[in-house]
Symmetry: C2
Subunit: 494 residues, 2 copies
């Protein structure tokens, strides 16, 4: 076991070095550094891969046999074997090509997005799809469909059949709900648009984050193009966010990324330098980003506490506004173009659209050059909006530029799980609303740490969720939550 841990520790260090190369690329690196950075990341990734897939690693795992799956060692052997078997299927050369394509794709996407130039991005998308097909071929004997093979990288054993069924249930309810709201009187958000200098937004971000659990001792917050969170180490959590001076959307990017960060930060130290700190269930991960972004940061009690502070920072824009009006404004429901700025109700349709399109791309039924048209048609069908340009359409997200296909559904599955987890927390912490209204987030954070964060990757994700909420993923609490919010804010019966 000591030898296994030693070898896994080295791999862990390499992975985190790779993550720093990635974080730096998106926050600090001068633009001309891109080609060399792509080599560096590919090299680090390839070395880690080669060290991992060795026969010795397999022999080491065999020699340890089956251990109690509830023990740390048992979990370590289980996840390592699973990862090892998957990693062995992919030749090092293909992995390096994939990594290199990712590193080149991201800045190309950033440029293409800036100029709303889909053609400039198209060769990168084609390259990714070609590499994905080669990747899928490596798992031809797994019994999984091509898309499910990709899904498995973001959520262990997820099946598109199940996801499609859940999403069908959501479509059934969300599309009419969106129409219902469109017919109701719209809430006022005029005061949420104006001039909000970045420095003050940054100040406010820290004012929110610190009571939530952020400290500059072990965290950073930086601006970037597409917000993300990464953990260079358990005590080195990097959040990124995006500021626009015209509004205060950054608050929600920041609390979203905080949710990722606090999950990474709160894993048991005993699991450090092992794969058990590599939180690879994106459904669980996104359940936390969405929980902190929505259940916390779009709640009434949260703004009862924080709105006066916000008002103090931006008196010109916000004096005379009540916290209730602000809460309604940040929950305004309205079809729009940008996923990361979407309200809780239309958000689901943004994801379902991407889920459907990426399945079509992977199967080859949709050609990459036809993607913008297909995108715009679905935006019209699901949300009734006309996409004005590709920057506000198909080019808005970083994921496909980094070769991430199969990631998007986890946002919505995570959002569904977040409401199940929240309802459970409300049951256990009977005065959760009162605590939030007093600016106390410690009890919630501790509850989440106890139930979820500290476990790291010890349990299979489905089992982890089951232990928290007492059952499988279920869309009904989420739908109830949305309807109750809609009826609260818009006064419509749903």
């Amino acid at each position: 076991m000591a030898e296994l841990r030693e070898r896994l520790g080295v791999l862990h260090d390499l992975h985190r070095a790779g993550w720093l190369l990635g974080w730096d690329q998106q926050t600090m690196m001068p633009p001309a550094g891109t080609p060399a950075r792509s080599e560096q990341i590919a090299t680090v990734d390839r070395l880690a891969h080669e060290l991992f897939v060795s026969d010795e690693m397999g022999e080491l795992l065999d020699s340890l046999g089956e251990l109690d799956p509830e023990s740390v060692d048992g979990a370590l052997v289980r996840v390592t074997r699973r990862d090892w078997e998957k990693a062995r299927m992919v030749p090092a050369e293909l992995r390096a090509e994939i990594t290199r394509a990712e590193v080149l794709g991201v800045p190309a996407w950033a440029d293409a997005r800036k100029n709303s130039d889909y053609q400039a991005f198209l060769p990168h998308l084609r390259r990714h799809l070609e590499l994905k097909r080669r990747y899928i071929e490596c798992f031809a004997d797994s019994g999984k469909s091509p898309y499910d093979t990709l899904l498995d990288d973001y959520q262990e054993d997820a099946r598109s059949e199940d996801i499609t069924a859940v999403f069908a249930r959501l479509k059934e309810e969300l599309i009419p709900l969106i129409r219902e709201v469109a017919g109701a009187e719209q809430v006022d958000t005029s005061f949420a648009h104006g001039h909000f200098p970045v420095e003050k937004q940054e100040l406010f971000a820290r004012e929110i984050l610190e009571p939530l659990g952020y400290s500059s001792e072990a965290w950073r917050l930086d601006p970037t193009v597409h917000p993300f969170a990464t953990s260079i180490a358990l005590d080195d959590i990097r959040l990124t966010t995006r500021y626009s001076e015209a509004d205060l959307e950054s608050i929600f990017h920041t609390t979203h990324e905080f949710g990722h960060g606090i999950y990474e930060f709160s894993v048991d130290r005993e699991l450090d330098r092992t794969p058990l700190v590599e939180l690879n269930s994106m459904v669980l991960h996104e359940s936390q980003s969405r929980l902190w972004e929505n259940l916390v940061c779009r709640s009434r009690p949260f703004w009862r506490f924080f709105f006066p502070k916000l008002q103090e920072l931006f008196p010109d824009e916000l004096s005379g506004v009540t916290d209730e009006a602000w809460w309604r404004a940040v929950n305004r429901i309205e079809p729009s173009f940008i996923r990361v700025e979407a309200d809780e109700v239309t958000y689901g349709m943004h994801i379902i659209l991407r889920y459907e399109l990426e399945q079509e791309l992977i199967s080859g039924r949709l050609a990459p050059e036809d993607l913008p048209e297909a995108w715009n048609a679905k935006m019209q069908e699901y949300l009734g909006v006309d996409v004005p340009d590709d920057a506000k359409g198909v080019l808005q997200d970083v994921h496909w530029s980094a070769g991430s296909f199969g990631y998007f559904p986890t946002y919505l599955l995570g959002t569904i799980a977040s409401v199940q987890i929240w309802e459970t927390a409300q049951g256990d912490l009977t005065d959760l609303d009162a605590q939030m209204e007093a600016g106390e987030f410690g009890p919630l954070r501790e509850w989440l740490t106890d139930k979820l964060y500290r476990w790291g990757r010890r349990l299979p994700p489905e089992e982890q969720l089951r232990r928290i909420v007492g059952g499988p993923l279920d869309a009904e609490p989420y739908l109830r939550y949305l309807k109750s919010k809609v009826s609260d804010i818009y006064g419509v019966r749903v």
Copy 2:
């Protein structure tokens, strides 16, 4: 050759990943990240070492035989063999221990310096010295003295016997020169002290750096505790500097680091991803930091061009001051405590003091606990000043905290070389002063690139210097230069 290049490319990527881990630690990393960072750097370093010292690498080198030393391939084989033979002498475990001690030592030093607490630093220094002794033992058969073994890591085949002789010559001249100046009328620097907000200093730094050759396309400039420069890639140069609001010393830190950066930036692209871009002659490297800091940035023509811009930024402090008065002020000669803020004349004594003390530490003639006393005594002897506390004394520099012993003399040797190189440039570029006065640094930069930068590590450093200046290292031009400046500014006959 292709296989050698491929293997060396991987090593290069790992080294640069390690440098990014180091840069990030000193500029961006939250403090609690230190222990994990130490593991990460040690792992990356150890892996690179293991890959490098393999028998296969030796066989590959043998199979290539002796090549034309003037060719790129010949140089590549020569430096790789030299590095390989040295690297094989040091067990991977010892290297990892050294790396780990460095990574832990730097933040411990930063804290100790902040609190002027030598005792807090002492265990780290002891640990470094113990590891250095073990390191030296690995080279017991090299015929080098213990200290020369350390020197060799910063300057190929440097010998303390030669250095001591050069330094003796300097002492002979510098000590009386310093006394001479002490008796003359002091120049006025009152306007150089005041309130200089950091943001404006940063603005001015960029205003200087851009004509010199910096561009945000391929460079960064960030604040840190102890300024340094690093190259994450040829097109990703990171300068760091230190700002104090009470004065404008940051200008000289910045141009010093720029000298390192422009050397790294200007190496032939053809040498990329090989050890030939790993510029390991610290004498040549420091010759460039000192050339840009002193010969350029403390020159009359430089300030004729830049002083009006500085005045514009800081009108309260600098209106009514002439560029001549400013030039005199930034060349004021006065014994002081801090090396990196020392004038050109006293600077040498700061280095000689460190050189002598580190030899004593390595030989064991001086115990680490007695170091502050020995430091303070020499400061009194060489510069006539009483060190008020260890922060302004023995704790001022980062080097020993990172286990760097044998580095300091290269600053002074580099300074000596910088004047030889400068005199040669003046011969070739007959209107160098006029160019600088017009803010044109392109011709100088191109001359330096042609003579030095583009060569990377192709030539042994002594040979490289000889090809530029036509002879070996020589203290006389440096002494002449100092005396002429002293007589210019202080009007004393020397």
